[in-house]
Symmetry: C2
Subunit: 542 residues, 2 copies
């Protein structure tokens, strides 16, 4: 039962609201925009007899998704929908047909396409796979509109599929701890805008956030008690799969590893003791690639993580090794000379090859940041580029797959329009041959967490990540900034209904600043301020 006041309000205010919205009704509200949209005549009304039916291939994931859809629709409209067995079934207003099962573990090859036909009598959503159904459900919810007749969906034909196969959001849980509910509600938001990869940055200098059972001292000493248990991780992975989202773990190495060394100084390139890093930046500690025991340790650790995370990819980071510990360690220098290595980049490539072999042995493909690119590495790795399309093009020409994160750094506090204009296929990549282009899998928005807490992180990610989601899903020619902003405002409000807090947490935070008094005067001031933006994209990626 929904709040009757909402419903009463909705009825009373339809005329009022319909006036407000009519001026905007020509264009659809979808974000991301689908591949093809053809308006039709008519309108499907959403009433209290609205019902969803499922046909074709069935699985619990689909039934749960249909139930969530009904709940969200009820919440969005204030209409109490029938979802109870004892009521006589009315003809379904939304008929969902799924052809066949999807992949047991979702990959970049998963078919995410769907077709949605809305007519006055009925809407029909068909998709080859459950993931396609999930994408179409989000489209349906975004189509729901209110006019003088009440809630409904304008008749339309939609044929949709993503432009890129890898559409990710990186969440950094190391710099600031992000509890499971924060991760989950961001997964809900990702699903709403059709992102399909959670890149979970689980370790860094400032915290080791993962429970290892083989090496429990990693989280015991490296996390201040803030880490995900293996049960947490299973729960998040299941939650993500229910929403058609892959979970790729990142354990950054050989640099960004101070938190590992608190318990395992023997893995470092300089003697300890180490403490958890409390500042932000690029720090000296790095693993010692010359030590046999390092690889034995990593074999144990990666083996444990590979069994926990089902995704085919394992992210090893590989970024921002400043090399100082290597330069000052005579044993490492001797090792490099013995092997004829020309510099630290060669040493890191050696490390990467060893780690790659370990990852492969545990059934994983490797992904890492730009710096892992080295001619000696095999071609099945994926390069995540914070350097830009030029670096991505170079990798593609050499036969490597890549994803773009340059231009998608949410922590740089740039406007949505900035991110929206960054296209993985513009600049150097535009000139690639078709086969080379096919190696560019997509991109990832990055939420580095130096300056965000669980309370503020939603306001950094949303709604801007939705503009990136459209860039990665919609056809390349969808690029009207004004239209994007209009739809973005609407989506941001929708995301609050999913539990995101980018808008609702603003007032309470202002009130804390005013010593729990009325914050209206402060809001006037705060609303005209804007944060310092980071435009030094080429000087360092965090």
């Amino acid at each position: 039962m929904e709040n009757p006041l909402s419903r009463l309000g909705a009825l009373m205010l339809m005329t009022l609201c319909a006036g407000v919205i009519s001026g905007e009704a020509q264009e659809n509200n979808l974000l991301p925009q689908p591949a093809q949209v053809s308006p039709r005549e008519g309108r499907l009304a959403i009433t209290d007899s609205f019902r969803i039916s499922l046909s074709g291939y069935q699985e619990p994931r689909l039934r749960a998704a249909a139930q969530r859809l009904a709940r969200r629709l009820a919440r969005q409209t204030g209409i109490a929908l029938p979802d109870r067995s004892e009521k006589a079934p009315s003809p379904a207003a939304l008929v969902i047909h799924c052809d066949h099962a999807g992949e047991p573990v979702q990959t970049v090859r998963e078919d995410e396409s769907y077709r949605l036909e809305v007519r006055t009598e009925q809407a029909r959503l068909t998709a080859p796979t459950p993931v396609g159904v999930l994408r179409g459900m989000e489209t349906f919810l975004q189509l729901v509109d209110l006019d003088t007749r009440g809630f409904g969906v304008a008749a339309v034909d939609i044929n949709d599929r993503p432009r890129f196969r890898w559409r990710g959001l990186l969440m950094d849980a190391s710099r600031h701890w992000m509890p499971v509910p924060v991760i989950k509600r961001n997964l809900d938001a990702m699903a709403a805008v059709k992102l399909n990869v959670l890149h979970w940055h689980l370790s860094d200098d400032q915290g080791f956030r993962m429970e290892s059972r083989r090496f429990p001292e990693l989280q015991r000493l490296g996390s201040d008690g803030n880490y995900y248990t293996q049960a947490d991780v299973r729960e998040v992975i299941a939650y993500a799969r229910e929403r058609g989202i892959r979970v790729v773990p990142e354990f950054d190495m050989p640099g960004h590893t101070t938190s590992w060394f608190v318990s395992h100084p023997e893995l470092a390139s300089a003697p300890g003791p180490y403490v958890i890093e409390r500042a932000w930046g690029i720090f000296d500690p790095a693993m010692n690639p010359t030590k046999a025991e390092l690889y034995a340790f990593l074999d144990g650790f990666i083996g444990e993580m590979a069994a926990l995370f089902p995704d085919e990819y394992f992210h090893i980071g590989g970024d921002e090794v400043n090399g100082k510990q290597w330069d000052h360690n005579p044993r490492i220098q001797a090792f490099m000379r013995r092997r004829g290595m020309k510099g630290n980049h060669d040493l890191q490539a050696y490390f990467n090859r060893r780690v790659l072999a370990i990852a492969r042995q545990h059934g994983k493909k490797m992904i890492g940041w730009d710096e892992i690119l080295h001619p000696e590495l095999p071609k099945d790795i994926v390069v995540q580029s914070w350097r830009g399309q030029k670096s991505l093009a170079e990798a593609a020409r050499q036969g490597y797959m890549g994803i773009l994160s340059f231009g998608y750094y949410l922590d740089h506090i740039l406007p949505a329009s900035f991110h929206y204009k960054v296209d993985p296929m513009e600049g150097e990549t535009a000139g690639l041959a078709e086969e080379q282009k096919s190696r560019i899998l997509g991109g990832e928005a990055c939420m580095w967490a130096e300056y965000v807490t669980p309370e503020t992180v939603a306001s950094r990610i949303w709604p801007r990540a939705a503009a990136i989601a459209e860039r990665l899903w919609s056809p390349q020619e969808v690029k009207d900034v004004e239209s994007m902003y209009r739809r973005l405002a609407r989506v941001s409000r929708q995301l609050e209904g999913l539990g995101l807090t980018q808008r609702s947490s603003y007032g309470p935070m202002l009130e804390r600043l005013t010593n729990m008094n009325d914050a209206a005067p402060l809001k006037v001031l705060a609303d005209v301020l804007e944060p310092v933006k980071s435009l030094r994209l080429s000087q360092g990626h965090r």
Copy 2:
């Protein structure tokens, strides 16, 4: 690490804000008001070296509470506080001393008193028991203030103890399902205003919300899948104990039991089949007190629940039996004649005596609504009065203990000032002898959930329940409505920092009504409207 913007903002805006608050600084912000407050000269500054130390009796509950206090203080002030082992300890700014352990299971006899002395150099919180420490911590947090010098606490001596021993909040999880996180955040809010009993209304006509392992069909057929597992219940009980809150379960019987009969029609007084009730009101279905198998069933069920809920009290409801099923059942009528019963009230008293015997056998004391009062019942039961002080006085005169809920019904949507004026010791109770008065244990705010969802429930409970909390904690002469409202506004903002949503959910809900458009015009309208209030307090309590 707190958001540096918050801190920067705090520093920048101190002058601005201090101006706003200075006019209100004469009076303290505490809600509930303590028993004794004596302002002193000086001010303890809250700085980034603020540290808490614990001495005397130690237990994990106290350490966890100290950690929560530090986190909340950091959040409230935007100051990153040291809570890390590697830093050199500074002298503690807040010294906490606890004399001895509290009760293994908290009861109405628990000592909740504390003493708080704040001086320029240090604050000292002392209490006989951990629960007293918890109460004092909440006081300390409410004392934190901001002026041109930054955050701090004005020097003061506080001696505090509650006026009443039973200060409850009833949450109805039957009419609308309330998931565990909703219960938990309300426990946080209860602790903040020193309420000490969660009365958990777990079954009613519209839903059986508790997992029974002996009778799993109860929740399987009676809950639409929305029920608390036994693990959930243990988690909630532990969470409540950490905050000094007792959890009293209510399984309403013999009426309000339709949801039981979906799986167990044989317990009812009329043949089934039964379905979960979807409307609101008082319904006919009631248990059949003449059946031996009913008591065998209740023995099994109450035994199972008695082992799960550690509190000494077990609430059997007992309200609003309309008697129709009894009147129309010839077997029941014959039973009543045989036993010389004069009416349905006698039959219910018979039922209550049988249930009381079962509860006792499982180590529990019984509590129920007004209607359970009957001369044949022994004197160790507690009567919860929705009828008023007259009924409470009558019970006390007869030797029964009682708590007041008349005047504390939050679902009646009356102003905080209305509830604030209702005193358990005014009216008929004022004329009782001292010994009789001591039988009046306190009161409970009631949040019946016919018209609230998890999304709106906070806006019904808070901040009004805080006014009731003050009535039950503070000395009787604390009754300045204007002062209460000023402090209430502040507490409401503080509760949002604990995750409550009574203020932050308003905007997003208005936006849903406006079809995800700007809700500013609608807010103007909504702000001048007010809900229909229920003043028919004497005609039926829900």
